[in-house]
């Protein structure tokens, strides 16, 4: 597993762009979200998985979309504020 730190100032859209990029580059899926003592959002990516998911995983601060599979939940920084969020795949 590789933990990637994301800038706390990201909006939800920016964070999702970051998730897509990280999954693509590490060639594996997002497995957990959270935050750390550095004041950053953390994304855990499984680089040992056979491939990155298509479509890429997403993060939302709202409800889990219908038909989506929950990856996990956690508190992430959205526009600088710690916010409850859900990571999911479709």
């Amino acid at each position: 597993m590789t933990i990637v730190e994301a800038d706390p100032s990201y909006t939800v859209d920016q964070l999702n762009a970051f998730v897509t990029q990280s999954e693509k580059r590490l060639m594996g899926p997002l497995t957990a979200i959270g935050n750390n003592t550095n004041g950053k959002t953390t994304l855990t990516i499984d680089e040992r998985a056979p491939s990155n998911p298509t479509p890429p995983s997403k993060i939302t601060t709202g409800q889990l979309p219908v038909g989506a599979t929950k990856i996990g939940d956690g508190r992430v920084y959205i526009s600088g504020t710690l916010t409850d969020a859900i990571a999911y795949k479709t």
């Binding site: 730190e5 970051f18 953390t42 680089e47 056979p50 491939s51």
Partner: protein, 316 residues
């Protein structure tokens, strides 16, 4: 200026050679010490401390009975030994520091002087000869400066040695707060040995290496991207070709080719690694070496380097 003295080229060159021989010794006599002069005659002090090292006072300790008698003798021996180790360490520290600075000072100056003469004096032949002498001196110094690593590293090593010694000293001081029955002289000897060895170069290197390894692991475990990278098409397209190729090998479960790629890059693959293990190693490596770069130019440069190494496998 020297040409005004009308020295013949031959005499000028002889003077230069003489300077080569004499000046280094002048400067070597006064290397940059970095430490104030010590008014204490430490050799005499060490001589006076000899009874604490050669068993004389230890015999008194063995002969004494009970905490009241033994504890002060133990303390005296321990403090005397600490004093002895401190003197030796200070000498060691000074010699390391001086060696890393003294030699370069002398030869640098000679080189600069000769270089200056080359630029300002004589005809072409004289200049050439002086230039050669200058190169000779600076060349020698270049050899010394190959140890620039040593010069720079020695400061870190000295700091680590100081830190190791301070850490080792804590155990001793804590022990001395106890009566002899709870911390006897022979226990103290063990801590004193650790204190003595804490001031060694191997000890310092060991700690620094461990620390570097830990930091390296931390860096791998928590890689930081400061912002979303707006990759240029050149970077994105090439990166995609590479990752698509790797994922193709993963799909075929081709551990052999993945392993060869990892080895070509210089990554070690532990025996018994599966194709997914190797893919993970490659993914982390690519992420660190390419994605962690802050500028697109650096990413392209990293990709270019990688493209050459991986050419036998994939063109991107």
């Amino acid at each position: 200026m020297l040409s005004a003295l009308k020295l013949s080229p031959f005499r000028l060159i002889c003077s230069a050679i003489l300077a080569c021989i004499c000046l280094p010794s002048l400067f070597a006599c006064a290397p940059l010490q970095g430490y104030p002069l010590d008014p204490e005659d430490t050799n005499a002090t060490l001589k006076n401390l000899a009874p604490y090292f050669n068993g004389t006072v230890e015999a008194q300790y063995v002969a004494a009975a009970g905490d009241t008698s033994k504890t002060p003798i133990r303390d005296a021996i321990v403090y005397a030994r600490i004093r002895g180790y401190n003197i030796e360490f200070a000498d060691f520290e000074k010699s390391l520091y001086s060696e890393s600075n003294g030699v370069a000072v002398g030869s640098d100056l000679v080189g600069l002087i000769l270089g200056g003469l080359t630029a300002t004096t004589g005809n072409a032949a004289t200049k050439a000869a002086l230039g050669a002498a200058s190169v000779g001196v600076l060349g020698a110094n270049t050899a010394i400066n190959k140890d620039l690593y040593y010069q720079k590293t020695i400061v870190a090593l000295l700091s680590q040695m100081e830190a190791n010694r301070a850490k080792a000293k804590i155990s001793i001081i804590q022990g001395l707060n106890l009566p002899d029955s709870k911390y006897n002289l022979f226990q103290a000897y063990g801590d004193l040995d650790a204190y003595k060895n804490a001031g060694s170069i191997p000890g310092a290197i060991s700690v620094i290496t461990q620390s570097a390894e830990t930091q390296k692991q931390d860096a791998v475990n928590a890689m930081v991207l400061q912002g979303i990278t707006l990759e240029t098409p050149a970077v994105s397209a090439r990166y995609d070709i590479l990752t698509t190729y790797i994922l193709g090998l993963v799909k075929k479960k081709d551990a052999t080719t993945l392993g060869k790629m990892a080895n070509a890059i210089g990554l070690s693959v532990p025996p018994g690694s599966t194709y997914l293990d190797i893919k993970g190693i490659l993914a982390r490596y690519l992420y660190v070496t390419i994605d962690s770069k802050t500028s697109e130019a650096d990413k392209l440069a990293a990709l270019n380097t990688l493209a050459v190494v991986l050419k036998p496998y994939v063109t991107f």
